[in-house]
């Protein structure tokens, strides 16, 4: 048996070969480019592994609350949200002269914005939301109704994911909300994620929860 480190490297190489050779028998990793269209979204299903390239925006608790309460017209937000992905992330960013340097950029728990997300999806033309841990029924229904999808990225892998953020383009609401809760505009390349809630009303999180619920009953019956 290979040692841990070697096995990991072998596995990573296998993953890379799958990306380069999508015709291999195992499920290929899909490359997707932003902005996404309605058709792009409909081609995605739960369990799909994707690599995202393009411009995405971040937003956590304060941005969601603000977007919901203000119901801004698109023109008042400095970034175009049409077809993009709203990433649940409060990054670590260092100011380097005039520019911003990305230090760490992993996902935060998406469930905290459950009460706002369905309205944000309906009002701002997003085609994707991304975070970790999955979301609830309200969001799942909004994804279906508005042709949008939930991407689950890798919780705690902030150093790795920061390397996939090629550029910090801009920021909105920095002074008002602070660096963690501001809306950052990132250019990402090959940002890894898994589709766990799709536009067909399917949720991998519900499936796992049902399965674990049966085990829980057996263990505590």
């Amino acid at each position: 048996m290979l040692l841990g480190r070697q096995k990991i490297e072998a596995d990573m190489a296998h993953l890379k070969s799958k990306i380069q050779n999508p015709k291999s028998k195992k499920k290929a990793v899909k490359r997707i480019n932003l902005p996404l269209t309605r058709e792009d979204v409909l081609s995605l299903h739960i369990g799909d592994m994707v690599l995202i390239t393009g411009k995405i925006v971040t937003g956590r608790d304060k941005i969601h609350e603000f977007l919901c309460k203000e119901r801004l017209s698109g023109a008042r937000i400095p970034f175009n949200l049409e077809g993009t992905i709203l990433y649940h992330c409060g990054p670590i960013i260092k100011k380097a002269g005039k520019d911003f340097e990305i230090i760490a950029a992993g996902p935060t728990t998406s469930m905290r914005v459950e009460m706002y997300e369905h309205r944000v999806i309906a009002d701002y033309g997003l085609r994707g939301v991304m975070g970790k841990g999955g979301m609830g029924r309200q969001t799942l229904e909004a994804l279906k109704k508005n042709r949008c999808v939930y991407f689950h990225t890798i919780g705690g892998a902030a150093a790795h994911l920061a390397e996939r953020v090629k550029r910090v383009i801009d920021v909105w609401k920095l002074r008002e909300f602070g660096s963690t809760d501001a809306m950052w505009l990132f250019e990402v390349r090959d940002f890894p994620a898994i589709v766990t809630m799709d536009a067909y009303g399917q949720s991998l999180h519900e499936i796992v929860e049902r399965k674990t619920g049966r085990e829980f009953k057996k263990l505590t019956g």
Binding site: M1, G4, R5, K7, I8, D11, M12, L15, K26, M49, C89, G90, P91, I92, K94, I103, A104, A105, G106, T108, T109, M111, K132, G133, G134, H152, I154, G155, G156, A157, A158, A159, H160, L161, A162, E163, G178, S179, T180, P192, I194, T196, L204, H205, I207, V208, E209, K211, T212, G213, E215, F216, L219, T220
Partner: protein, 280 residues
């Protein structure tokens, strides 16, 4: 070297370098997992490598700093507190850490990880001539899914015994699903009062994953709970798999005849803890 600078280094080490025992547990889980869960674990391990190499935080949520400090008799706790606060400000700027201290009244972020009761510091006097500082950077995702129980608990059919404790932990982990970044490390505290068991459960998270409980009954309980947690099948990041927990540690205090509190402290896979031993 000044103590303050050693504390800044302690912050850097905790934030950027996963303890060896946790990394070993993730590697051993990786060997057993299915392709999807395995590929998630491989990304986590890759992240550990990058963070250590580049000296960048493993996770953007550098958490609430929690200090457990063993203080020699001659050292002032008040001075130590001030030194830790000063080191926290410097570390936030230099590591850097994310500014996580928010004023509850004004909703303003202090910007330097200090504030009322922030960082958290627990002091204990020791007879030895050296200062021991354990620092844990406790992420909010896993803190938010941690739970306190008062037994008996009718819905869980949890009585006041270790079977009841097992039921509480399984309930907390089942409800947490993937929200707190599994594989989890779980600290459990049992005792008389809710503040006491919450501190005790968190203190369990300082133990090495290889550390076997000195009490045989508790050691057996820890193994049983870990086995059952993994039967739940929540898996790495909650996307199903064999590895839901990589460590369960139980601590007990005496209880009141009428009380049986159980606190379940859940920690994400990025269990960032580090120790400084300082000779006075």
């Amino acid at each position: 070297m000044k103590l303050r600078d050693a504390l800044v280094d302690l912050y850097r080490k905790a934030a950027t370098s996963l303890p060896a025992d946790v990394e070993a547990a993730l590697i051993s889980a990786y060997k057993k997992e299915s392709p999807v869960a395995g590929s998630i674990l491989s990304v986590l391990l890759e992240n550990v490598r990058i963070a250590r190499k580049t000296e960048r935080p493993l996770c953007q949520d550098t958490g609430v700093p929690v200090f457990f400090i063993k203080v020699p008799v001659s050292v002032s706790q008040r001075d130590l507190r001030n030194t830790i606060i000063e080191a926290t400000r410097i570390a936030t700027r230099e590591v850097p850490l994310r500014a996580n201290a928010v004023d509850v009244i004004t909703e303003k972020n202090s910007g330097d990880n200090t504030g009322i009761g922030f960082p958290i510091m627990y002091f204990e006097e020791t007879g030895r001539g050296r200062l021991i500082v354990d620092l844990m950077l406790k992420g909010a995702g896993s803190e938010n899914v941690s739970r306190l129980y008062s037994l008996p608990h009718v819905e869980l059919k949890a009585e006041r015994n270790f079977e009841g404790v097992r039921r509480c932990v399984l309930d907390a982990v089942y409800k947490a699903q993937g929200k707190g970044c599994p594989p989890y490390i779980i600290g459990v505290g049992v005792g008389a009062a809710k503040d006491q068991v919450s501190r005790l459960s968190k203190e369990q998270l300082l133990r090495s994953l290889q550390d076997e409980n000195k009490n045989g009954v508790l050691a057996k309980l820890e193994k049983k709970i870990m086995h059952d947690c993994n039967r739940l099948g929540i898996g790495p990041l909650g996307l199903s798999g064999k590895t839901t927990a990589i460590g369960v540690k139980v601590g007990v205090n005496h209880r009141h005849p009428a009380s049986y509190f159980v606190d379940v402290s859940i920690c994400c896979w990025a269990d960032r803890r580090s120790r400084l031993i300082w000779h006075i």
